[in-house]
Amino acid sequence: MKEKPLLLAFVLVAALGCDSLPGRPDPADRYQRPSEVEDFALLYATHCSGCHGADGRNGPATNLGDPLYAALADPVEVRRVIAEGVAGTPMPVFAQTGGGTLTEKQLNILAEGLKAGLNGSESASRLRGAPPLTAKAGVRGQASTAQLARGEQAYATYCARCHGAEGTGGASGGSLLEPAFLGLVSDQALRTTVIVGREDLGMPGWQGAGERPMTAAEVSDVVAWLGSHRSSAGDAASGVSIK
C-alpha cells in the first residue's frame, strides 16, 4: 500500500517533467500576424534597415541612427514621412491607408522608437544653437538670388573642403551636383544630412563642418543653393521606356 503514492508521484513527475522538455513549443515563437508586430526593433529591421542601415548607420539613405538625429527629430514629422513617403524620392509609402503594410499603431511605434534613438539620443547640452531639423515648408527653386549667393558662400565655407570648390566632388566627398542625385533627393534630406552629418561615413554635422557651427540660416541657404542646381529634365514623372 505504501508504494502506491510513491508510484503515483513518479508517474506524475515523469508526465509533467516532460512538459519542460526542449521540444515543447515556446509561446514566444507563436506566429504573429504582420499587422500585430509591435516590437520596434523588429519593425525597424524589416521595414527600414534595407536602406537606412542595420542600426540606422552605414546605410545609403538618411542617417537615422545618429544620436543627434534622435534628439532633433520631430516625431510627428517622422511619422508623417514614414506613413506617406516622400514623393519623387525612393522613400516609399508605408501606411496601410496608402497601400503600404504598416498600421497606425505600428507607425507610432516606429516614430517613437526613432525619436528615442536607435543608438541613444544626444544630450540637450550639446544641442545649443542647433538649427531646426525640419525646415519651414520651402518651395523648390524659389530661392532669391541673394539667398543663393549666401548659400554659395556657406558652401565654400563649410562644404568645399571635401566636396570640391565647384561642388562636383573633391578630396573626400563626392559630387553634390549630379542632376540624378539632386533629382531624387528632397530638400529635407539634404537639410538633415547637413545638420546631422554622416559621422559613420566621415562627414561632420552642423557643429564640426567649419571653424564655428553653422547657423540655421546658413543651413537653409546652402540647401537652397544645392537645390537651385536641379534640372527639370528626368524627374520621376516623365518616365522612360525603350522599345
Binding site: 508526465a15 509533467l16 516532460c18 512538459d19 522538455l21 526542449p22 521540444g23 515543447r24 513549443p25 509561446p27 515563437d29 507563436r30 506566429y31 500576424r33 504582420p34 529591421a45 524589416t46 521595414h47 527600414c48 534597415s49 534595407g50 536602406c51 542601415g53 542595420a54 552605414n58 546605410g59 545609403p60 539613405a61 525612393p90 522613400m91 516609399p92 503594410t101 566632388g169 566627398g173 563626392g174 559630387s175 553634390l176 549630379e178 542632376p179 540624378a180 542625385f181 533629382g183 531624387l184 533627393v185 559613420d200 561615413l201 529634365a233 528626368g234 524627374d235 520621376a236 514623372a237 516623365s238 518616365g239 522612360v240 521606356s241 525603350i242
Partner: protein, 491 residues
C-alpha cells in the same frame, strides 16, 4: 502455475491461439531472411501503430473546421498538457513512416524480392506506399496553417491542369469551387477515415501475402528465379534452414523497431512538433508557403522544369511513374535477384534517390523564389556604402526601394533568383547595365516603365562601383580601343 496453464488452455481451446501463432508469428522463415536488411517493413508497421494511437489522441482535441482548427492546434501546443508531445510524436512518426516505407520499398527493389511469386505483394506494397504519401499530404493539411492552405491551392492548381476532368477533380477535392470549410472536412475525412481504412485493408492483404508466399530468402549471386522450380526450392530451403519468425528470426526486427521508436520519442521530446506558421487566412499575403519535407522535391521540380513541360509532366509523366511502379514485377521478371548481378537496378535507385534529394535540397534553399522582404529588411552592407558619392548612395537606395534585392543578393545577402550583384561591374559595362535594367531579359522583368531617368542614372552609378578592389570594371571593346589610343603604352 498449473492454474495459469489451465486458463491459457481454456482460451486456446476457444481462440485456437496456438494454431494462429503457428501460422503467423511462429511460421517458419528461411534462416537467411533473418537479416538486418529485412527489418524495414516491420518498423514501418510500428510507425503506423504509433500514428494510429497518437492520431486518435489528437482527434480528441482537434477541430476540423477552418474557424477553429488553428486555435485547436495552438491549444494543443500551448495549453493541453502534453498536447505538444503528442503532436510531436505524430509529426515525427509521420516523417519516420515515410522514410521507412521508402527504404523498405528500395530494399525490396534492390533485392529483387518482388519477383515470382511475390508480384502481388509488391503491387499491394506500392499501393501502401502511395497511401502513406497520401496520409502525409492530408496530414500536412490538418495543420491548417498557411502552408496547408496554399498547399491545397497548389494541389488544386496541379489537378486543374488535367484536361477534361480538371475542373471536376478540383471541385471534388475542394468540396466546391473554392477552398473553404468543406475542403478541410474532406481532407480530414480522407486523413482520418478513408486512407487509414484503405491502408489497414491493404496491409492485411500485404501480410497475408507475406505469410502465404513466405519471406523471400536472402538473394545469392548466380541464383536465378525460375517460376517452374521456385516454389519447391523455397520449400526445401525453409525445411532445411527454417526458423520461426518469433522468437528466433525476429530479434533484429524487435531491436530495430525499438530503436526507431526511441528515435521518434527523442525527436518529439527534443525537437518537438512543427509549429503551424500562421492561420490559414488567405488575406495574409506575407507568407512563403513551403510543403513538408517529403514534398519538397516535387515542389522544387515544378520550379526548375521548363514551364512548357509542366502540364505534360502532370498529365503524362506522373501517372506513368505510378504505373511503372506497379509494373516493376512484370517489367523485370525472373532472373537474378542479387543487386551485384543487377547493375541497372542499382544505378536506377542511385539516380532516383540522388535526384529526389538534390531536388529536396533545392526546395529548402529555393533559389528561384524572390526574398519578399529583402528590399526593406536586408541592409546594404556598410562596405558597399563607404567611400561612395551621394549619387551612388542614392543608387543603392534606388536598388533597395525598387525591390531589386528581392531577387539579387549583394555578396550573398538577399534573393538568390538573379545573379549576385557584388562584382556585377566586372561583368557588364555601363551601357549593358542600363540596357538590362530598362529592358530586362534573361528572366528579369523590364523596369523601363518604373524607373525615371534619374533613378536609372543613380542605380547604374551605384552598380558600376560593384567590383572587387583591384579588379577593373567591364568596358566594351570600343572604349578599350579608345583609351588605348588616347594613352598609348598603358593598358
Amino acid at each position: 502455475m498449473n492454474r495459469l496453464r489451465a486458463i491459457g488452455k481454456w482460451f486456446d481451446d476457444r481462440l485456437a491461439l496456438g494454431r494462429l501463432y503457428d501460422q503467423s508469428l511462429g511460421h517458419r522463415i528461411p534462416f537467411s531472411s533473418s537479416s538486418w536488411w529485412y527489418v524495414f517493413g516491420s518498423a514501418t508497421l510500428l510507425c503506423l501503430i504509433i500514428q494510429l494511437v497518437t492520431g486518435v489522441c489528437l482527434a480528441l482535441v482537434y477541430v476540423p473546421s477552418p474557424d477553429q482548427a488553428y486555435a485547436s492546434l495552438e491549444y494543443l501546443d500551448y495549453e493541453q498538457p502534453l498536447g505538444w508531445y503528442l503532436r510531436g510524436l505524430h509529426f515525427w512518426g509521420s516523417n519516420f513512416m515515410v522514410a521507412l516505407v521508402t527504404i523498405h520499398l528500395v530494399q525490396i527493389f534492390l533485392f529483387g524480392a518482388y519477383k515470382y511469386p511475390r508480384e502481388l505483394t509488391w503491387m499491394v506494397g506500392s499501393a501502401l506506399f502511395l497511401a502513406t504519401i497520401g496520409m502525409a499530404f492530408t496530414g500536412q493539411t490538418m495543420r491548417f496553417d498557411q502552408d496547408a492552405y496554399w498547399g491545397v491551392e497548389i494541389i488544386v492548381s496541379i489537378l486543374g491542369r488535367l484536361p477534361l476532368v480538371g475542373e471536376a477533380a478540383t471541385h471534388l477535392l475542394q468540396g466546391g469551387p473554392i477552398v473553404g470549410a468543406e475542403t478541410l472536412s474532406r481532407f480530414f475525412t480522407l486523413h482520418v477515415f478513408v486512407i487509414p481504412a484503405t491502408l489497414i485493408g491493404l496491409l492485411v492483404i500485404h501480410i497475408r501475402l507475406v505469410l502465404v508466399l513466405g519471406i523471400s530468402e536472402y538473394p545469392e549471386p548466380g541464383k536465378v528465379v525460375d517460376p517452374d522450380t521456385y516454389a519447391d526450392e523455397y520449400e526445401q530451403v525453409v525445411e532445411r534452414t527454417g526458423i520461426r519468425l518469433m522468437p528466433e528470426g525476429g530479434g533484429k526486427d524487435l531491436v530495430f523497431s525499438a530503436l526507431v521508436l526511441m528515435a521518434i520519442v527523442l525527436c518529439a521530446a527534443l525537437i518537438g512538433p512543427k509549429i503551424p506558421n500562421g492561420p490559414a487566412d488567405p488575406s495574409l499575403i506575407h507568407t512563403v508557403p513551403r510543403p513538408d519535407f517529403y514534398f519538397l522535391s516535387l515542389f522544387a521540380a515544378f520550379a526548375l522544369m521548363p514551364p512548357d513541360l509542366e502540364s505534360f509532366v502532370i498529365v503524362y509523366v506522373m501517372p506513368l511513374a505510378v504505373v511503372l511502379l506497379f509494373a516493376v514485377p512484370f517489367i523485370s521478371r525472373g532472373g537474378e535477384r542479387h543487386p551485384s548481378r543487377r547493375p541497372g537496378a542499382v544505378i536506377l535507385v542511385i539516380l532516383v534517390l540522388t535526384g529526389l534529394f538534390t531536388l529536396a535540397w533545392e526546395g529548402v534553399v529555393s533559389p528561384w523564389s524572390p526574398e519578399m522582404d529583402a528590399w526593406s529588411g536586408v541592409p546594404v552592407q556598410p562596405r558597399f556604402v563607404e567611400d561612395r558619392s551621394p549619387l551612388e548612395h542614392m543608387g543603392a537606395t534606388v536598388l533597395q526601394a525598387k525591390q531589386c534585392r528581392n531577387c539579387h543578393a549583394l555578396d550573398g545577402a538577399g534573393g538568390k533568383r538573379g545573379p549576385d550583384l557584388a562584382g556585377v561591374a566586372t561583368r557588364l559595362t555601363e551601357d549593358q547595365l542600363i540596357r538590362q535594367v530598362l529592358q530586362g531579359g534573361g528572366n528579369m522583368p523590364a523596369y523601363g516603365n518604373h524607373l525615371s531617368p534619374h533613378e536609372v542614372s543613380a542605380l547604374v552609378a551605384f552598380l558600376t562601383t560593384l567590383h572587387a578592389e583591384g579588379q577593373a570594371p567591364a568596358r566594351d571593346s570600343a572604349s578599350w580601343a579608345r583609351s588605348a589610343r588616347e594613352s598609348p603604352g598603358s593598358r
